[in-house]
Each structure stands twice: as structure tokens, then as C-alpha cells.
């Protein structure tokens, strides 16, 4: 009897083919990198060709070969004298700001959302406040952040934090109320206590949904950090662009823009990779 079940079962695994081998993972990664880079390669080639042929003014709108040479010749340093910064320091400070803000906002929103879901009175009081605060775009928080925290990392982190915290807290409470009641009932008949149900059923059930919203809200937060760096903060990728404008150095402006795009894309890919590997039980959208 159970041998027959076994045979049935093993037939099914062959068909289902669970995790693929290492080799195919590597080749799939390579293929997806090529798929992403190819359109950019075409754009760059057209741009370069247009510049060589004289259709584009190289001083006003330098092609990649021009501003990449500029970066290398300047030894990856921008600006003059004490105001100079390295490219790596700028990337690092922008990325750190956004990642720290996202992480704090995500954890705080999950905790607050779960807490509010268990506490109806608090939820009724706080929800209208959150719903009023959530639509304020992260960028709109910049002036208040600078007044409260001065020009520095704290302000940038604050802006990212408020940019995701309110939205994700609301999303968490919504996700909690839509958790399949049958999963909770299953846990109860298996002997899980009330608090255990929150940590071992509700939390994993809502994580993918809340994380998806984190990814969506990342772009707003990223833009806000750059805007903050452009208007007040003295360093980071946003500051590079402003430095370029002040020095009327289009090479520098374009380098800043490219780095912003690449870093934003990298963080989004990182978030997607986290979602795929840690929160895989719900297909990311």
C-alpha cells in the first residue's frame, strides 16, 4: 500500500522538478544580466555615434565615453579642494541613508501594524491620523526634516522613514485583516497560543504583501533622499548633480544621473532578490 503511494509520489517529484541545479541558476543569472544590459548598450552606441557624427554638442551633452574618461582622469574624485568627495563615498552615503531608512520604516511599520491589529481602540484612534499623514509625499517632509535634524544623515533617514512608515503601517493592518481565517483556525487546533499565532502565522502570512509595498515605495523614498541631498545635505549622489550644475560641468551632472539610476536599480534588484529568496511563498508582483 504505502509502496504504491511512494511510487505515485516519486513520479510526481520528477514532474514537479523542485529546485534547479547550480549550473542552470548561473546561466539564468547571466542571461538576465545580458537581457537588462543589451538595450542600454544599444542606447549608448547610438548616443556615441550621434556625438561622433556631430549631431550632439559634446560639451552640453557629453556621451558616456566622454564622462567616463572624465571620472577616471579625476581619479573618481569630484569637486575641488576641501569640497571634493570621492565617487564611492557619495554612493555609499546615499545608499546607506536609503537602506537604513527603509529597514527602520519596514520594521517599525510591521510592529505598529500588528500592534494596532490586536488593539481595536488604538487602531480606531490612530488609523485616521495615519491616513492623513500617508499621502504627504516624502519630498514634502524635507524642509521639516532639515529644521528638526539639521543637514545630515539623520534628516535623510527621517525622510525615508516617514516616506514608508505610514503607508506600510496601514498596509500591515489591511493585510492582517485579510489573513485566511482557516490558517489561524488550523494553528489553534494544533495547539498554538494567541501570541504564537501572531508570530508564527499572521506575521509570515502578511510579510510578502507588506514587503511588496516596501519595494513600490522605495522609489519615492530614493527620490526624496536625492532631493534632500540637492537642496540641503552636502554630500551624496544628489549633491554631485548640484555641484555639476554650479560648476557648469555637464560631465559631472550626467555621471550623477547615471549613478542614481544604477544605484536605484541595484537596490530594487536587491529588494526583489530578498523577496524571492526569503519570502518566496507568494510570487512577487
Amino acid at each position: 500500500m504505502s509502496r504504491r503511494l511512494d511510487a505515485l509520489a516519486s513520479m510526481r517529484t520528477v514532474l514537479a522538478a523542485p529546485r534547479d541545479g547550480v549550473a542552470s541558476t548561473a546561466s539564468r543569472m547571466l542571461r538576465s544580466i545580458v537581457r537588462v544590459l543589451f538595450p542600454w548598450l544599444v542606447v549608448v552606441l547610438v548616443w556615441e555615434a550621434a556625438a561622433r557624427a556631430g549631431y550632439v554638442n559634446v560639451t552640453l551633452f557629453p556621451p558616456p565615453s566622454h564622462f567616463i574618461r572624465y571620472v577616471i582622469e579625476n581619479d573618481f574624485r569630484f569637486g575641488i579642494g576641501p569640497q571634493g568627495v570621492t565617487m564611492w563615498a557619495s554612493i555609499l552615503s546615499s545608499l546607506l541613508r536609503v537602506l537604513v531608512g527603509l529597514a527602520l520604516g519596514f520594521v517599525a511599520a510591521l510592529a505598529t501594524g500588528l500592534l494596532l491589529s490586536t488593539w481595536p481602540a488604538g487602531r480606531n484612534f490612530i488609523m485616521p491620523l495615519l491616513q492623513g499623514l500617508a499621502p504627504i509625499a516624502p519630498i514634502a517632509w524635507i524642509p521639516l526634516g532639515i529644521v528638526l535634524f539639521g543637514v545630515g544623515n539623520k534628516t535623510a533617514i527621517f525622510i525615508v522613514f516617514v516616506g514608508v512608515f505610514f503607508v506600510l503601517t496601514i498596509a500591515t493592518t489591511v493585510a492582517v485583516s485579510s489573513v485566511d481565517q482557516k490558517l489561524i483556525k488550523s494553528a489553534r487546533t494544533l495547539g498554538a497560543s494567541g501570541p504564537q499565532i501572531w508570530t508564527t502565522v499572521v506575521l509570515p502570512a502578511v510579510l510578502p504583501q507588506v514587503f511588496t509595498l516596501l519595494r513600490i515605495n522605495f522609489f519615492g523614498a530614493w527620490m526624496a533622499v536625492l532631493a534632500a541631498e540637492m537642496v540641503g545635505l552636502k554630500n551624496g549622489l544628489g549633491a554631485i548633480i548640484i555641484m555639476g550644475r554650479e560648476m557648469f560641468d555637464t560631465d559631472l551632472i550626467l555621471v550623477g544621473m547615471c549613478l542614481i539610476g544604477a544605484c536605484g536599480y541595484a537596490v530594487d534588484s536587491l529588494l526583489l532578490a530578498i523577496q524571492r529568496s526569503v519570502l518566496w511563498w507568494k510570487e512577487p508582483t
Partner: protein
């Protein structure tokens, strides 16, 4: 000896805008220690509601459920339930799904591994311990859900139409598998189904329910030797008798279109 007794259970679901549904009306069922009890009824007659009340997941409007003579007030792994739609945790592997209840109760790691491995072996899923629910077929998921309940060593196993979604062949396999499990674990089973054949094949006692609101209309003891087969004459006599009865019940509540107007 009687293990569980549900006495005169009535359940009214309070709906929005004052709409309420009487799902169960004065329903009494009982299960002896070690018995296999089936509850047979049409869709919507309140079978799931009844099981959830017996499990202690929902409170009856009136009446009570007694296990060993004590009134049931809350869910307990003693009365473990396998749900109609299985409800495996999608984020846990087969092993961790089965271990879920033991972990929550703080069972020591070595004992936990031993118990889970043993049950997985019993249901023929040892090789799939590391797989996740979405990688399994319907029948395999079914066995994980049953294993997850069995590992608790429940005294009463409540099963809500567990095989309804399976094709005929897989269902037959699973029915025999369940009987093997029942015989070797000695667990009392209360099994909800809308298949007449399934009830006769599995149960010692079949409660027949009718819909709107759900009531018990009959209780039939199946006195067939095991192992049973769908194709014997004796089986067929039960089949005919139960089918006639269910047909009568349906016709009693059936209103021809013309008459309804």
C-alpha cells in the same frame, strides 16, 4: 465507551444587517472510543460548522460538546481538525508543517524529530520532508495535513471532506491509507463527507444530515466486515438504502418552480 458527545447543538450565524442563518438545528452526535464515525450530508447542511463546534473553534448557540463528560470550551490538539481546504502553511516545509504543533508546545528537539520522522514515514512522505506545499500534488498535501494532525496524537481526529477534491483513483488510495492509519493509531475519527460510498466504505456509524437548517435525520450502523469493497452485494444494499433516504430528503424540500410562484 463514549469519547465525545455533542448534545442538541443549535448554531445561528449572525450575518450583517440582521440577516442570520440557522446552520444547525438540535444536532446530536456521538463517537465511541476508537470508532470511525461519518457525517453524511449535502452541501451547505452545516457539516463544517458542526466540526468546528466540536473542535472548539466556534461556540454553539445552544447545546454543548462533551469530551470524557467535560464540556469543550476551546480548541485543543486533543481534537485535531483537518480542514476542507487543508490549510498547510505555505512558508513551511513538509517537515516544519508537521512539526508546527509540537514546536508551539515546546516539545524537545530530539523527540520532535523522532515523532515527525515517524509520522512522515507512516504516510510515505519521508523523502519529501524538505519540500514545500506548492511542490506537492493534491494527494500528497492531503497526507501532509493528516500527518500534521496525527503527530499530535489526537484522541479525536476531525476531518472535513478531506478527499472531496481528489480524483477517483487517488481518493480510493487515500481512503485505504486512512483506514490503515486509523487501525494502526487507534484514533477515534469523525469524518465529514457528501459521498455516500465513502461513508459506507469507511465508517462504523453514519449520521445522515439534511439541509436548511442542518438536522440529523438518521443514524445507520454499517455492519460490513473489513476490508470492504465498493462492489459487494452487501455494500450495495447500504448504498441503495442511503441513496433512497437522501433522495427522499431532497424531494421533501424540493419545490417545483410552478409551486414556488
Amino acid at each position: 465507551m463514549t469519547l465525545l458527545k455533542a448534545v442538541q447543538i443549535t448554531k445561528v450565524w449572525e450575518g450583517a444587517r440582521g440577516l442570520s442563518v440557522k446552520a444547525l438545528d438540535n444536532v446530536s452526535v456521538e463517537a465511541d472510543n476508537g470508532a470511525f464515525v461519518a457525517i453524511l450530508g449535502p452541501s451547505g447542511c452545516g457539516k463544517s460548522t458542526l466540526l468546528e463546534i466540536i473542535a472548539g473553534l466556534e461556540a454553539p448557540t445552544t447545546g454543548d460538546v462533551r469530551m470524557d463528560g467535560r464540556t469543550v470550551t476551546e480548541a485543543s490538539p486533543e481534537r485535531c481538525m483537518v480542514f476542507q481546504d487543508l490549510c498547510l502553511f505555505p512558508w513551511l516545509s513538509v517537515f516544519d508543517n508537521v512539526a508546527f504543533g509540537l514546536r508551539r508546545r515546546g516539545i524537545a528537539r530530539a523527540e520532535l524529530k523522532e515523532r515527525v520522522d515517524e509520522v512522515l514515514d507512516r504516510v510515505g512522505l519521508s523523502r519529501f520532508a524538505g519540500h514545500f506545499p506548492h511542490q506537492l500534488s493534491g494527494g500528497m498535501k492531503q497526507r501532509v495535513a493528516i500527518a500534521r494532525a496525527l503527530v499530535q496524537k489526537p484522541r479525536l481526529l476531525l476531518m472535513d471532506e478531506p478527499f472531496a477534491a481528489l480524483d477517483f483513483q487517488t481518493r480510493v488510495l487515500m481512503q485505504h491509507f486512512l483506514l490503515e492509519v486509523w487501525e494502526s493509531f487507534g484514533t477515534t475519527i469523525m469524518f465529514v463527507t457528501h459521498h455516500i460510498d465513502e461513508a459506507i466504505l469507511l465508517a462504523d456509524t453514519v449520521y445522515v444530515m439534511s439541509a436548511g437548517p442542518g438536522r440529523i435525520v438518521d443514524c445507520v450502523d454499517i455492519e460490513l466486515p473489513r476490508p470492504r469493497s465498493y462492489t459487494t452485494d452487501a455494500f450495495n444494499q447500504y448504498r441503495v438504502a442511503l441513496t433512497e433516504q437522501m433522495e427522499r430528503e431532497v424531494m421533501r424540500t424540493y419545490q417545483p418552480l410552478a409551486a414556488a410562484e
